[in-house]
Amino acid sequence: MQRRLIPCLLICLLSCCDLRGQNPQQTARWTIRLLHCVDNVPAVYDTLAYSNASGNRYAVCRIQYFISRITLHARGTEVPAGEPQHYADSGLSPTLLWQTDVPAGRYDSLSFTFGLSPELNQSYIFRNPPENLMFWPEALGGGYHCMKLDLKYINRNGQIAHFNCHLGNGQEKNPDGQVTGRVGNHFRVTLPLQLTAEAGKTAETRLVMRIEKWFDAVHRIDFNRFERGIMDNLDAMRLFRENGRQVFDILTL
């Protein structure tokens, strides 16, 4: 009996080292805490306290967005985590904490789709608020907003103006204005991670959105150029999408 027990214990101890050795029954709780920062400090909302790279003085009023197909990676193995999509809203604190059970083990990266991945982004799939309020009009391509980031800024006339940084499906049109194609402005984000999820315990990852990077990561945005928003502007949404690939970081404690 004892002779059998020792190898079993050895196998258990060894299997803790990475995901492939894990007993799939052994799960850990994994929490993602969503944080929103501007210039490396937590965002303070509704104050015209920030300046972007173009020199626009601006305030962040609120951020609402989807992330979907959250996946943990361990040495090339993918572990889909939790519900297919998650809605985050700076005004609803419960949405800023996302939890799921994952197989215990060590993970080396995290990936997710910013916005809803195409197979999820179908009009009318959400019947309940707040998700259904993210509706993206059929006339603009249908589905749901990837993000509503609502700002105020001081425009070139020195007046308070509004800027809605809303990202969702774009539509390509021919010279006659007929729709010829759809451009999903969702994008995949992959971030390195050192996560050890121990069976029966909770591991936490802090995922931070650096809001200012939406305006300067690749393309420098002057709010005056787009004036009030980007929602029905294919080119503007592309610029934001390309900036958006760099807005997320894992915050190491």
Partner: protein
């Protein structure tokens, strides 16, 4: 969109604990307890799941029937003289989606006043689809489950549980005592209803015994108000593939749901068929905000200054005048305001992007199309349904 069918959800409203209720009231009665009331099953269209029904007041067929009578009974004012009758229906008229209507014979320009002549401090809000409002009632959302306030000491309403400020039940006792409404006393109302001679069997069926009290009166009326569901407008039928829209209506929909008109972010869309987000927003009507009843008065958050409920656009054609203070008499005036009358201030909700230019600046034809679309949200079935009408139109107490 045209081929999309409106999914009808047969929702089952939580069954009541009839046995508990019967046991609680049998101490008052010697007669045998009646059969338990029948849970009210409601056909919910393509609406959200979250119904705002307090755990202690499940909807029942009998409760709604009683509430409908009380809603229309002028003795709710606690008086029986013909000049002193007032009921909920005095101002909340079915043909106006349970507002008073702009051309009311007594309340000129849709501005109601109480029995003493004191005007209401705000324009009316209609009564429909309140089941799906979990954000708080009234223009500022003060009536909300989180509200701990009890009673109204200035009107001798005691700080006891029936007199909470949390849900539709609250409006009943508030209407009785408010000087700009019935200006009455709760004990007199209970007495008038008790002495009316027709209610005891209805209370028995709804609540298990003959006992008439303000708690039961409030609960029954709240049940009836929750049963007021509007889901059969022309646009609903269009979404279900049972109606077609004209070119003008379709263009109006297009303007409504794109950045051109930019109405949908706040007022909803085909995917938000309540046609409101039930949020509170400052919609750029003014520059100074000193009104005591705004959202700021509830939250204390400066961002809520001058913010009021975003009303549903369902049945909007029936509910003039518009805005919290009723400043616009017609839909055209209201659309003109959004077209060119927006005022710039730091408190305007960030979603109001047309504030940057003072409005949407649509052409007259586009405004006409937008209005044509809004009229497709009128639910004639709702405003004519016999289920919601005065149950005793020939009874003098019920004619007000």
């Amino acid at each position: 969109m045209k081929g999309l069918s409106l999914r009808w959800i047969r929702g089952v409203v939580a069954g009541m604990s009839a046995a508990t209720m019967a046991a609680a009231v049998c101490a008052y009665d010697h007669a045998p307890a009646p059969p338990p009331p029948e849970p009210y099953r409601i056909n919910i269209p393509f609406f959200p799941d979250g119904l705002n029904i307090p755990a202690d007041n499940p909807m029942t067929v009998e409760g709604i029937a009683l509430g409908r009578h009380l809603f229309y009974d002028g003795r709710l004012s606690g008086r029986t003289h013909p000049d002193s009758l007032m009921s909920c229906a005095t101002c909340h008229r079915q043909e106006h989606a349970f507002e008073c209507g702009f051309h009311h014979p007594v309340y000129k320009n849709g501005r109601p006043h109480g029995l003493t002549g004191q005007p209401a401090p705000h324009a009316m809000l209609p009564l429909f689809n309140l089941l799906w409002n979990n954000e708080g009632y009234m223009w500022n959302g003060r009536i909300h489950e989180s509200n701990q306030q009890l009673g109204a000491p200035q009107y001798n309403v005691p700080a006891e549980p029936p007199y909470h400020h949390r849900n539709i039940e609250s409006f009943v006792w508030m209407a009785i005592v408010a000087p700009h409404e019935m200006d009455g006393r709760i004990d007199r109302t209970v007495c008038a209803i008790r002495n009316a001679g027709l209610y005891q069997p209805m209370f028995r069926k709804a609540f298990g015994s003959d006992t008439v009290n303000i708690d039961r009166i409030s609960k029954a009326i709240a049940q009836f108000v929750r049963s007021l569901v509007s889901f059969d407008s022309k646009f609903d039928r269009f979404m279900a593939g049972r109606a077609t829209l004209t070119a003008s209506e379709l263009n109006g929909l297009q303007l409504f749901t794109t950045e051109t008109g930019d109405c949908f972010h706040c007022h909803g869309s085909p995917a938000v068929p309540l046609w409101t987000t039930n949020a509170f927003m400052n919609n750029a009507k003014d520059i100074d905000f000193n009104e005591a009843g705004d959202r700021y008065s509830v939250t204390g958050n400066p961002r809520d200054k001058g913010a009021y409920r975003v009303p549903s656009l369902r049945n909007i054609a029936y509910t003039a005048p518009y805005m919290h203070d009723g400043r616009f008499a017609t839909l055209k005036e209201t659309l003109q305001f959004y077209n060119s009358g927006l005022q710039r201030s730091p408190y305007v909700h960030p979603l109001m992007i047309n504030m940057n230019h003072g409005g949407a600046h649509l052409s007259n034809q586009e405004l006409a199309d937008l209005e044509a679309f809004l009229l497709t949200l009128s639910d004639t079935t709702f405003v004519t349904s016999p289920s919601f009408a005065n149950p005793r139109p020939d009874d003098a107490f019920f004619t007000r």
